[in-house]
Amino acid sequence: MGSSSGQSSGSYDLSFKILLIGDSGVGKSSLLVSFISSSVEDLAPTIGVDFKIKQLTVGGKRLKLTIWDTAGQERFRTLTSSYYRNAQGIILVYDVTRRETFTNLSDVWTKEVDLYSTNQDCVKMLVGNKVDKDSERDVTREEGMALAEEHGWTFLECSAKTRENVVQCFEELALKIMKVPSLLEEGSTAVKRNILKQKPEHLPASSGGCCS
């Protein structure tokens, strides 16, 4: 289920775990696939959890992002709660054309984060997806900004379909994480731990990176 993209040779400076959460159908998987592979195909609903790995260079550092894509439906929440552990970044996604997905962030998702996130300094980002459907817009940009400000989150609007602002979402989140000393330290520890574990003969041949 999980797949990696870009270099998998382990040559990176920092490793971060990022989590995508939000209601079913807001486009979490599409956002991830749009970021990883630039494709914008229709995707089947996520069942349980999926993850993808992407390497990119941000602020002069080579990063390995492990991005966990969770199912939005309530049934899967008890199963997905463990994925919050040790996440350095959480992206809260809503659909700008469906107001309930926006109100559920306050009513449901922030509570989930408070309950399960083990990392106090974890960086949160609010993302309003599907801005390509401007005529159907149900949540204004200002409302998004206000909610983000209230919670101290970073805010962006994007479209997984047109790829507008998609890369920026992840890059901006990574930059924010890198500015938090405790998270930066965790990111480097993860790399050290990983290098120690890797035996030379198991290192796969390095392939061309796709984003750096």
């Binding site: 289920m1 079913s24 229709d42 089947a44 609903p45 069942i47 349980g48 199912a71 309530e74 008890t78």
Partner: protein, 407 residues
Amino acid sequence: MLKKGKLKLPDRLGILVPGFEEKEEENGGSEPVFESGEELEIMEPNGVELGHKENEYEFDDLGVNDTVGDKVDAFRTRKRPDKNRSGQVSVMDVIAAEEKRSDLEHEFSQKEINLEKVKRIANKGVPDGGGLRATAWKLLLCYLSPSRDMWEKELTENRQKYAKLKEELLLSPSAYTRVRADAMISAELSREGDVAGPLKRQGISHGDHPLSVGQASAWDHYFKHTEIAEQIDRDLQRTHSDMKFFSGESSFSKKNREAMRNILLLFAKLNPAICYVQGMNEVLAPILYVFSTDTDEQNALNAEADSFSCFVRLLSDSVDHFCQQLDNSPVGILSTLSRLAKLLKENDEELWKHLEFTTQVKPQFYAFRWITLLLSQEFNFPSILRIWDSLLSNPFGVQVPIIPINF
């Protein structure tokens, strides 16, 4: 990868991987066992059966073109290794498929069908076309009884029952009240003849008023189910979006989505503790597809009703995996996933250690979907149908081939 030399599978599982033993030698130990099994190979001979092309869309969706080679190439994912056959179907394969077809046709024409025999044949793959798979699956799910004489009566009864359930549960409360009232009025009319005097007002209890928010209000249920319906609709838009049968704006695909919507909504209403869980759409899709593409016109017309009953039967075996309250119980999904980890440890400890400790990729990260959806999201559509032939013909239930219960 599982290593052949030390693969330990319970006997029951061995039965389910036909051709498994033969392939051991042929492949010389270079391929993973799952892919080396002959079970998916059976798809190829069926490509020859273009003479049975009665439902255009069926084969369009399956990507069958003019030549068998093209058909194999058209498989969307996980192309099989070539094995020096260049996509050619061997004469032996064609003969084997034809034998299976005639065996099944012969069996289905019997007055008393030998279900064990059907299971044995279906286990190795039901040939496409001619509605054989639809009949086989209905028999395997015990929707049809082995006595052929009973079929017409059983089907008629079940289809009527479904129509009644739909009428009672899927209409909005006011529409249902109206239908009931109309039925009562027409019954009275027929009893009393012409009725003089004022028209009767339809009686609506306070609890059934649309503005009533009481728990018992029919409208309260109705609104709740509107939410579920919206969720189902969103998922149906994303079900096999690359297949004309399920996707697009044609009246044909709309009709199929409508049928799936009715079935899933009805299941949710009849099973409030489970309701609708994402992924049920994926489990339903192969059933509706197979029944709708049956060459028997009556069967194809009644695919929705038949699919509902068979979907319920299929889920009865694995419904616990969909139930959040049972997640931590011995019958829940987490327990099943532990059994999978144990099975992996027994068969390939090195891989198990790598996943468990080095990468810490737990079974629920990769196998949750395999198990809850009966592998229906992991392969291209023709392969799913082929795999399900084996899953459905397992004497111990559909879950057993994936995770043996007593392992």
